[in-house]
Amino acid sequence: MSFGLLLLLLIAVMLVEMVNESAVSFSRFGLGFLTSSTWDPQQRVFGALPFIYGTVVSSLIGLAIAAPVGMAAAIFIVELAPPWLGNAVSALVELLAAIPSVLLGLWGIFVMVPFLRARVEQPIIERLPNVPFLAGPAYGVGLLAGCLILAVMVIPTIVAISRDVMAVVPKDQREAMLALGATRWEATTWAVLPYARSGILGAVVLGLGRALGETMAVTMVIGNRSEIPASLFQPAYTMASVIANEFTEATYELYISALIEIGLVLFLVTTALNAAARLLVWRTARAAR
């Protein structure tokens, strides 16, 4: 029981320490820290907006790709596939989740990025030259690469949780819909998905939380430039990435404090999202019982 208290203590300590260390930066920049886009260690001016932008945009786009694909895979596993195939797909997706972030990043740098540059970005720039957020040049690394790698990392979360909440939808809900003359797809979308919707939403929110905090793979492919990218193909920066890249080079107190303040924001946001997500998933599990 005392170890349990230790856990409680740990989280409290975490919070306190981070707030403490952020204090220097906070007192200097106040809340404007979050809205200023000047990040200039030389001039000792720090503003976190480019990182917040990069984090939010890459996570949302990554999620926008991962959520439908993940939910579709979950539908396949639960409703359509024979058990052996469903289990196989589930197992493979879970293995994807086990791959360390740095290895995905390694693959990202040397395989995905060149592919994006040559086969995706360059052709798009040539075919659609005047679309503002698809403007070149084609680096390969950049916001798009970040979004894609995040999508890959978040899909297992979405699949696993959606699959679990859909599997506990009572059989007779589906059968009642079928008994009214529904096709297979209609039985899924009219009966199963609505029933499981809180849980699926929870899965998406958890996925978002994961995407926001993801560090290594994103750092290795997103380009690491502290300006808000004007186009999908330009380099960007996320909160986690700037901490990862610049922490050991932060030579004076304000610099470190600014980075820790970014960490604090990341901590608070992901924690809030996770708490909300757990509540949603928990609610569906309760309803099914």
Binding site: G4, L80, L103
Partner: protein, 285 residues
């Protein structure tokens, strides 16, 4: 919801969606195949014994290995386990055996919250708790960071493993006159040991691959570790540093090390998966 349309059209939609959904499943498995494929191919090509027997060569020179990184990972994992296992297992025991109250629920909730904290943030915490007072990067700091990441996994799997022990076993022990704590330690925990061990393996698999929290705690090194109070290399950290550097030979070593790391992590996961399947069958019999 609005439906309607002829039956033929609705059936067509159903077939099309079934196909789409199957394709999406393929899409989710594709990245796994691609990543594993490239790691195996690129890693195998560059793999040689030097990787685990030699220290890194001077910067810019080809050759050398990552022996210090492999040792480092071993040390860090051992350190993290030494901290996380007692905390995690005991908390898990508490939650499983005494955990029907509001405090326990809060504890569970917080454990879940801890799982969701980005690992880089945990790195910051370890930095403030260990590196700053010690005025130096250290294996200790890295171990602490990894321990914080490991604790929730171990706690949760321990609790679940013990919850699956049938109540009849506990009742039998109590009926024989064993005190509550003795029952737990001598009877319940051994019964749930399989689950606890798999939880530990999962925890190890997770932290062995963690890089972010080590960036400014363990920090990395090109030499043998000088004890727990100095910086230390680790395999994922080394892979990261080599991958973003411009040297061709470093890239080769990064792929090769990735292959070995991958084998370790996936190996542990597969063992766990197989173990839980047979374990499940045994329980049903």
């Amino acid at each position: 919801m609005t439906g309607g349309g002829s039956l033929a059209r609705r059936q067509k939609l159903s077939s099309v969606m079934s196909g789409t959904v199957a394709a999406a499943s393929g899409l989710t498995v594709l990245p796994l195949a691609l990543v594993l494929g490239y790691i195996v191919v690129n890693g195998a090509v560059g793999l040689n014994l030097d990787l685990i027997t030699h220290l890194p060569a001077p910067v810019g020179e080809a050759g050398g290995g990552m022996a210090n990184a492999f040792l480092g990972t071993l040390v860090l994992v051992a350190l993290a386990s030494a901290i996380a296992l007692p905390v995690g297992i005991l908390t898990g025991i508490y939650l499983s055996e005494f955990g029907q109250n509001a405090f326990a629920d809060t504890l569970r909730f917080l454990t879940d919250v801890l799982t969701g904290v980005p690992s880089i943030v945990i790195g910051i915490v370890a930095y403030t708790l260990v590196v700053i007072p010690m005025q130096s990067f250290s294996a200790l700091a890295g171990g602490v960071a990894l321990a914080i990441i490991m604790v929730p996994t171990v706690t949760r799997t321990t609790e679940e493993a013990l919850k699956r022990v049938p109540p009849t076993i506990r009742e039998a022990a109590l009926a024989l006159g064993l005190h509550h704590w003795k029952t737990i330690l001598l009877v319940v925990v051994p019964a749930g040991l399989g689950g606890i061990v798999t939880g530990v393996m999962l925890g190890i698999a997770r932290i062995a691959g963690e890089t972010a929290p080590l960036l400014f705690t363990a920090f990395g090194s090109r030499f043998w570790p000088t004890g727990l109070t100095g910086p230390i290399a680790a395999v994922p950290l080394q892979i990261f540093q080599y991958a973003i550097a411009p040297y061709q030979d470093w890239h080769r070593q990064a792929w090769a090390a990735a292959l070995l790391l991958m084998l370790l992590v996936l190996g542990l996961n597969l063992v766990v998966r197989l173990a839980t399947r047979t374990g499940f069958q045994r329980e049903q019999a």
